[in-house]
Every structure is written in structure tokens, then in C-alpha cells.
């Protein structure tokens, strides 16, 4: 069964550094998403992406965040200058014509 894959599984970075989280969505899917989950809290929406542009974003997704689909298969989330409070699990998801969303197993980001 096709799946969403995310790399790396764990990323440790220092405060103020830039990080790029990578995702390979399911190949024929059209909609792409990033969510995050701070330890012990709920899964929170960050951004949705369709037809090579952002379609919706949350208040969390400020100017420090950006997304890109650099080629036909990858979908990336960049955090320009990480803060301690960015530490969380970041999940990529994709869907076909619409929901349901299919999630990857996440990247655990630790900012020290």
C-alpha cells in the first residue's frame, strides 16, 4: 500500500538555525499538508498546498515557515530561524481529490 514517507525521523538543531523537513507524498495525490504535534498535545494544522501554492495556513504558520514542492515528488517545510517552542513532531500528509488525509510517521524536531 502506498505511503507518505518523511525524513529525517529525528532532527536536532540549535536555536536560530534553519531546518528543512522533507516529505514524499503518495504519488498520485494532489493536496499536501503539514501538521505538528507538541508532546502531549493535539495534532495542529499548519498549512495546505495545492496546485503549487499555499491554499490555507494557520496562525502558527508565520513568516518563519515556508513550504515548497521543488520537484514532482518532494514536499518540504522550512523553518528559517528555529525557536525552542518549535520542538514538536511534524507530520506531512497528502490526499487525492479530497480527504481523507494520509499521514507519514513524522519528523521529531528538537530545538536546543
Amino acid at each position: 500500500e502506498p505511503e507518505v514517507t518523511q525524513t529525517p525521523s529525528h532532527q536536532v538543531t540549535q536555536m536560530g538555525q534553519e531546518v528543512i523537513l522533507r516529505c514524499v507524498p503518495i504519488s498520485n495525490h494532489l493536496y499536501f499538508y503539514w501538521y505538528r504535534q507538541i508532546l502531549g498535545q493535539k495534532v495542529e494544522f499548519l498549512v495546505s498546498f495545492y496546485n503549487n501554492e499555499i491554499s490555507e495556513k494557520s496562525e502558527i504558520f508565520d513568516d518563519q515557515f515556508s513550504v515548497e514542492r521543488p520537484d514532482g515528488s518532494n514536499f518540504t517545510l522550512k523553518i528559517r530561524s528555529t525557536k525552542l517552542e518549535d520542538s514538536a513532531m511534524y507530520f506531512c500528509a497528502s490526499s487525492g481529490q479530497g480527504p481523507p488525509l494520509h499521514f507519514g510517521n513524522g519528523t521529531r524536531l528538537t530545538v536546543t
Binding site: V4, Y33, Y35, Q41, K42, V43, E44, F45, S48, Y50, S55, E56, S58, F91, A93, G98, P99, P100, L101, H102, F103, G104, N105, G106, R108
Partner: protein
């Protein structure tokens, strides 16, 4: 104000002891309600989509039902491998696209 509220927060059952998890929502114009299972350190795994009141879906020991205000996930004769966090999510129409909003989840622990 949370738009998706799940109860209970945690539930411990003996193997074989059936029960139900609740998800209530306040979004106007529901465009889909989703149930996911999340194991520790993993991404949400899709279980069911429900669209209209009265709809039911089943998979093995799980059955999801939907009314106009809430959804139930019924677990019949659970086994220890059913232990996980069960997440409810609803689809909300935004300005240009939909957003999937998650509840905080119910942590289910099945004792052998």
C-alpha cells in the same frame, strides 16, 4: 473554543470489555468527520470517514457512527493490540480550501 471535543481523555478496559468513545463537534456545515488511530511515535492512521447523520462504518472490532452533533467509535470485545490513541477530526470549509481539525484524542488502554 475547541471545535472538536473528545471524551473520555483516557480509558482503561479489560480485554473483551466493549465500550464507546465520543467525539462532539461544533463546526457549521459538516463536510466530513474522520477517525484516526495513533500509536506512540507514529503518524495518525486513517480508519473511517463519515459524511451524514445516520451513517455507520465498520472495520474489525470498530464501528463508527454519526449524528448531527457527535460521533461514536464503538469498540467491541477489544484486544490489547487495540491500545492506541483514537483521534477524531472534522473538515471545515475555509476561505479557499478545507481544513481538517483534530480533537485531543482518547488514549485507550486494553489490559490483557
Amino acid at each position: 473554543e475547541d471545535q472538536v471535543t473528545q471524551s473520555p481523555e483516557a480509558l482503561r478496559l479489560q480485554e473483551g470489555e466493549s465500550s464507546s468513545l465520543n467525539c462532539s463537534y461544533t463546526v457549521s456545515g459538516l463536510r466530513g468527520l474522520f477517525w484516526y488511530r495513533q500509536d506512540p511515535g507514529k503518524g495518525p492512521e486513517f480508519l473511517f470517514t463519515l459524511y451524514s447523520a445516520g451513517e455507520e462504518k465498520e472495520k474489525e472490532r470498530l464501528k463508527a457512527t454519526l449524528t448531527k452533533k457527535e460521533s461514536f467509535l464503538h469498540i467491541t470485545a477489544p484486544k490489547p493490540e487495540d491500545s492506541a490513541t483514537y483521534l477524531c477530526a472534522v473538515r471545515e470549509l475555509m476561505n479557499r480550501d478545507d481544513k481538517i481539525i483534530f480533537g485531543k484524542g482518547t488514549r485507550l488502554h486494553i489490559l490483557p
